[in-house]
Amino acid sequence: MSANLVVPTMAEMMAEGKQPEVLFWVGCSGSFDDRAKKITKAFVKILNQANVSFAVLGTEESCTGDPAKRAGNEFLFQMQAMMNIEVMNAYEVKKVVTACPHCFNTIKNEYPELGGSYEVVHHTQFLKSLLDDGRLTIEGGQFKGKKITFHDPCYLGRANNVYEAPRELIQKLDAELVEMKRSRANGLCCGAGGAQMFKEPEKGNKDINVERTEDALETQPEIIAAGCPFCNTMLTDGVKFKEKEHEIKVMDVAELIANAKDL
């Protein structure tokens, strides 16, 4: 089925003298992490079906520098940023969409000062705009009436005040959206931010992802929806820790939509 994926690169587009509507910034997780690659593919399927003219940087893409910056390595961050900006500016990129809130935040907020100004949207915002423009339809399908709770990624929610787009998409699935006791601006972190994804947690009496998974389980959901590859990993691990992986799935909003459409 992945044979059907149409994923042009910016280089190919340029060779044909074309400029895509939007650059899809895949990110490191979306490129390399087995779980996150599924999210990437689900998103591409939707883009293909909606006939969106997009392209990826492919092998010309490199880490945005987010984990280096949050770890305190400003040098490495700025080196990565400037290399990426040089590439994107060379392709005259105007608009960027990404399924990773960390990439989203970094390119949107921290690149402009270094010479890279683009319109940057999270994939849930992009899908919402496709829906509003009538380019995408969402059916309930297999999710009709299912209980879904949404976990706000810190770098999408608090960091950038994007709370509604993912929720509106879930509601379009005719699913029952249930809120955790801590949500939106009060949402609890999954534990991966600030470069924690790449290290063991400091000494404590509990892992943050377990604490957050407990919030989610309290709503007795069938699906925990996320909008971030890191949150996805953390919550998947949390659900496994609670031995609930057979009853409860952790899915990205893009996967929900792609699955509902049987893509």
């Binding site: 994923v7 979306g30 490129s31 305190g72 700025q78 290290k199 604490e211």
Partner: protein, 442 residues
């Protein structure tokens, strides 16, 4: 005799305000030890934030019980201070209730002050119970052992005493007014103290006058003492909340500042025409001598203002994912440590005639441990929670920068993550050339 009173009052007033002004000067000097940062952009939004968040208490009510009680005390504090103005004039000129010419409106004023004073006592009692009897988790944490705990209770005692004195003063005044004693002409309405006044029945006039005078003096001297207590207390927030919300960050919370000094170096590194051995062009500032922060002087002045503004309510810590799961990090402690160290540096400057003499200590390690710094997920919950827009996160990030860029002291796993980014453009060991392989995988 009465002139003596007025002169004595004037002297106490000048001393009280003078000593406070001295400390304010010190406070400003200490804050200015911080690095420069420009927070003068967008004055409209800044004024709006100050009006909404400091004056309007909009973030306080996110926790409704504490929020509403706090608004009562806050309103009491501000409004009853109108009465202090009258007390000052009466004290300086020997008048009795100088604003009473306002007539009916004066009655409304005094009446509402009394009701507020009563409500303030109720609110403070509730605060005391929450802190000392119910022992809410955020009030009994390790952050608050010693001075911070007694400081919090001192403030509650003080405010209670001031409010009680205010009501006793009015009650005695009312009693003397009804008796028509001396210059105690009829003025004011006393919805609360009328219930206290009967205790003076049967007591000789002179003694009631004495009690009235004593309450009056204790009240005003108490206010001056309280004013001077502020500098040594977390209670400074009643003043600093205003500049703090004005100068707070306006950018999206996820946007961390890009270090300009690093930008210069990185640009130089990436410029193929740059001469690596060339001297810095004349007139250009030399590269910043230190990356990140290991001590208070490396932080910017807004971060230092944040530290003085913090009232140690602990909302940040109670919402911190690291703290909730038993890690050592407490954002409140980050702010308290910063203030304690800044005070220490300030005292060092005082004793050494205006110059800081290195004392072999620093904010890093002596106050804040690396374990605390590495527990942060940069989730911004602490920043979101703070009722006066303090950012503990910005201090944590600046200190991580020092650890990584000056000391190469990142945890091992983070070093491998960074090496991977450097070598192959991803935090894991995958070849950049494989970045698009997902397209053809099943």
């Amino acid at each position: 005799m009465s002139y003596l009173d007025n002169i004595l009052f004037a002297i106490i007033l000048v001393l009280g305000i003078g000593f406070f002004a001295q400390n304010v000067k010190k406070l400003i000097r200490n804050i200015k030890l911080g690095q420069d940062v420009d927070r003068t952009d967008n004055p409209k939004e800044r004024w709006r934030n100050m009006a909404m968040i400091a004056l309007g208490q909009s973030k306080m009510v996110k926790r409704p019980v504490a929020g509403i009680l706090h608004i009562i005390v806050y309103l009491g504090f501000i409004i009853i201070n109108i009465e202090v103005l009258e007390i000052l004039i009466d004290g300086l000129f020997g008048t009795h209730r100088v604003f009473s010419f306002l007539g009916g409106f004066y009655n409304v004023l005094i009446g509402s002050f009394e009701v507020l004073a009563f409500l303030v006592i109720v609110a403070i009692a509730t605060f005391y119970i929450r802190r000392n009897i119910i022992k809410l988790k955020r009030f009994i944490s390790n952050d608050l052992t010693g001075w911070p705990k007694s400081d919090a209770n001192n403030i509650l005692y003080f405010e209670t005493v001031l409010m009680v004195l205010f009501l006793v003063l009015n009650a005695a005044d009312l009693h003397l007014q009804t008796l028509g004693v001396g210059h105690y002409n009829q003025a004011g309405a006393f919805p609360v103290s009328q219930f206290i006044a009967p205790i003076f029945n049967g007591i000789s006039e002179n003694i009631v006058v004495l009690i009235e005078r004593a309450a009056w003096w204790l009240h005003i001297v108490g206010i001056l003492i309280f004013l001077n207590y502020l500098y040594y207390s977390k209670h400074l927030h009643i003043l600093l909340a205003f500049p703090n919300t004005y100068f707070a960050n306006l950018k999206p919370q996820g946007q961390f500042d890009n270090l300009e000094s690093v930008t210069k170096e990185v640009k130089l590194m990436m410029d193929p025409n740059a001469d690596p051995f060339a001297a810095a062009p004349a007139g250009e500032e030399p590269v910043h001598s230190k990356f990140g922060a290991s001590d208070v002087q490396d932080l910017n002045w807004v971060q230092l203002l944040n530290a003085y503004t913090c009232t140690e309510c602990g909302r940040c810590t109670s919402s911190c994912p690291a703290n909730q799961t038993g890690k050592k990090l407490s954002p409140r402690k980050i702010m308290m440590d910063t203030r304690d160290r800044l005070e220490e540096v300030g005292k060092n400057i005082d004793t050494n005639k205006g110059v800081f003499v290195p004392d072999g200590k620093s904010l890093l390690n002596d106050y804040i441990s690396t374990e605390e710094l590495w527990a942060c997920t940069s989730c911004n919950a602490c920043v979101e929670e703070c009722p006066v827009n303090i950012s503990p996160l910005s201090i944590i990030m600046d200190m991580r920068r020092y650890l990584v860029m000056e000391q190469s002291a990142a945890p091992m796993e983070l070093n491998s993550m960074m090496t991977n980014i450097e070598n192959n453009g991803a935090p894991w060991q995958y070849n950049q050339m494989d970045r698009l392989n997902w397209k053809d995988e099943n």
